[in-house]
Symmetry: C2
Subunit: 440 residues, 2 copies
């Protein structure tokens, strides 16, 4: 095909991009993407994680850390689950935290009567509404559910504390049944209604549709709870906010039944992209790493290697073409700024995919002086060795230094890369905890 057949591409002359192209979609006039609240359920849903056994002291330590981070609510295991659960609930209510304390109970007066005596700021009531749960869990019909919901709700309200009514397994419940019960409890004045994807089956556009529909039926706030069995818990939460939900249930590292729910850190990664000012002003993002380490230690798991934000490689750039652009402008390959989370970015230059720009920045870090042509030549030597075995920083540095000696360029102080203070070099041979140490 010859040139003239090619349709000329004209540079778009649109003015400066809007401040945040990843912000809320203007079409979502009910969006709460920039006005959401967090209900942390590490001490309720998280206690249902296979490895979780929290002592009273550990629960208090976690509750204080979450409060310091800035979560709006902290949800605790039902006081009827066990005697210790009840005592722990009372102990945490006495801490006088900024975050409101909630407990999570079945839709029974027996549970409600115990819950309201613990000192909580609110009660989260849940009952299964799907045919599965109605048949195999509590075995009650929708009329029974509505009647008991009304009794429990009016009782809790009479105590002057917040009340949320949530269905369980909402996405496998009959839509008419759901809207009917939500409309009923909204009328009698619940603070929130909850949608729960108890089995993790929902996908984002389903979530958006259900939230938008529910929003047209109730006047109270909508809270959403998403399990992560099919890997959609973060985006389902985001899409729910786009549709008008106001509150999202999270837990540290997402721990909960099975593979858990929307993780606190992962949701922060998603939300800071959409609403940087709101998120940075409201939550202490640099505390995420400490909170995750605290909970990971308590439940005896490791931080996943690919965990959002805190995964060891979340801010590591390896391919030569990536490293080049990152050195010129980090935004080229980063939508998240590690500084927002008290973290650093890494350029991984000690590997066979490295490029001469990454090596040049290393040359600068070593305060050596090589021309671009020389940097390219030494890069070729490094890539050759990288083909033979994994490289570490020492390998690369000695190749660079030997080469520098050969060419014996007069030693001049070079202009160092504008991003030096952001950068750490890492090698491939050791765990990253060590890598950071061996860097300079």
């Amino acid at each position: 095909m010859s040139g003239q057949e090619f349709q000329q591409v004209t540079e778009s002359t649109a003015g400066p991009a809007k401040p945040n192209p990843y912000g809320p979609n203007p079409a979502d006039y009910l969006s709460n993407v920039s006005n959401f609240q967090l209900i942390d359920s590490t001490l309720r849903e998280g206690e249902q994680f296979a490895n979780a056994f929290f002592t009273t002291e550990k629960k208090i330590e976690i509750a204080k850390a979450l409060d310091d981070f800035g979560v709006d609510y902290i949800e605790l295991t039902s006081p009827v689950a066990s005697e210790q659960s009840r005592e722990d609930c009372e102990a945490i209510c006495k801490l006088g935290l900024k975050a409101k304390i909630l407990t999570h109970i079945r839709c029974h007066m027996d549970d409600a009567k115990v819950a309201v005596e613990t000192g909580v700021d609110g009660v989260d009531v849940v009952i299964g509404t799907s045919k599965f749960l109605r048949q195999y869990s509590h075995g009650k019909d929708m009329n029974y559910i509505a009647k008991s919901a009304i009794e429990v709700i009016e009782f809790v309200k009479s105590k002057g504390i917040e009340i949320r009514f949530s269905s369980e397994d909402s996405f496998r419940s009959d839509l008419v049944d759901l809207l009917n019960i939500y409309k009923t409890v909204d009328k009698i004045g619940v603070n929130r209604v909850g949608i729960a994807d108890t089995v993790g089956c929902a996908n984002p556009r389903q979530v958006y549709e259900l939230v938008r529909t529910l929003k047209s039926v109730v006047s109270c706030d909508i809270e959403c709870h998403f399990h992560n069995d099919t890997g959609c818990a973060i985006s389902n939460a985001y899409t729910a906010l786009e549709g008008g939900a106001r509150l999202i249930d999270v837990s540290v590292l997402g721990i909960g039944e099975r593979n858990g729910i929307t993780p606190l850190g992962g949701l922060m990664a998603r939300m800071i992209v959409a609403s940087p000012d709101y998120v940075k002003s409201k939550y202490k993002l640099h505390k995420i790493r400490d909170i995750e380490n605290l909970v990971a230690e308590a439940v005896e798991v490791n931080i996943p290697f690919n965990n959002p934000i805190t995964g060891f490689c979340a801010f590591t750039h390896k391919a030569g073409i990536h490293a080049k652009a990152i050195l010129a402008n980090p935004s080229t390959y980063e939508i998240l700024n590690p500084h927002d989370f008290g973290l650093k970015r890494y350029i991984h230059f000690a590997n066979r995919l490295t490029g001469w720009n990454a090596i040049k920045s290393r040359v600068d870090q070593l305060n050596l002086n090589l021309t671009d042509a020389q940097c390219k030549e030494v890069t070729t030597k490094i890539k050759k060795l990288g083909d033979i075995r994994p490289l570490n920083i020492d390998d690369v540095d000695s190749i660079i230094k030997d080469y520098h000696a050969e060419v014996s360029t007069p030693q001049l102080k070079s202009i160092s890369s504008g991003n030096d203070e952001d950068l750490e070099a890492i090698d491939a041979g050791e765990p990253v905890s060590k890598k950071a140490k061996t860097s300079n």
Copy 2:
């Protein structure tokens, strides 16, 4: 509020639910949710993972495992990345796998000339189209991009192999520029155009809109590549298929630059819910665990505790109310069936959140005979100890056995739970690898 004010809730009398309520949305007339293909990029994107150094032997082992699993394409690192990369590419092409072999190159004739000599079935060409990449990476304008794209595409086509043209950082590129270049390359007959969320900034509804729009401009297939920086890579892939994309880039465990891309296993968890017949007939799901272990070992990481499907707790049920329902019908709290992946489900009964139904099933497993009332009584004893310290199976078993001795019920063979063959009991005290062993 008195009864008559309560709006009567009538049971919905809808007939039997449609076979799969989680299937493709009928409104998505272009949906490929039941007709998608996988391009595994573990040996390209995955090689850009910080810890990745694959020897030739390991690359071949991984390629064979992916081919056996059933991926449609295997994408390899550019042959110009290093001499060894080129040789490995040729070696894998010679294996005669069912999967088509692709290599991934910059939009340069220099790269294309090397690529077409390696024996690959197709070439994936990529070039940055966002203002960021055009400014800080290759520094070319859209006209240059279009011209070089046409030259490379026509050259590769002349060799009779597949060609894909992808923009890079598509979601930060100018829409008019994008559609213009895609329309141009579609006209000259590329096999696929690619959309890449290179920085992981996209959200599902954005993805749906872009794919739907692109679908109206090109006649070729659409491939999508999603990074996972904000935790949306799985749902973005799903939503892209709903919008009409046909191919999804994945890697084993999602390894790649930074936190990587859509994980193979995670996407399978999402897709089996939507298209069970298609997914089960096309891919060997029971191989996922082995492939993940193979790659995890090669790059020296652990399988994340909460990994989709293969995370140690993915099929573990803990809370009493969950255990009760799971024992009655696993679908109550499971959207995924562990058997589809060659895995088992666990009821975690040795903890203070346990319920008497879980304990009753344990009593049955022990072939003891207790009445429901007696099971409830012994459950109370177990929960009391669970408040004091973490429990293991031996703790629970001895409490049950002591209690059984006390009440000295005549030993009769009890009817065992219908799910016994599905169930394994686990305790909280040990790593799960051991748990399975200690189970019975």
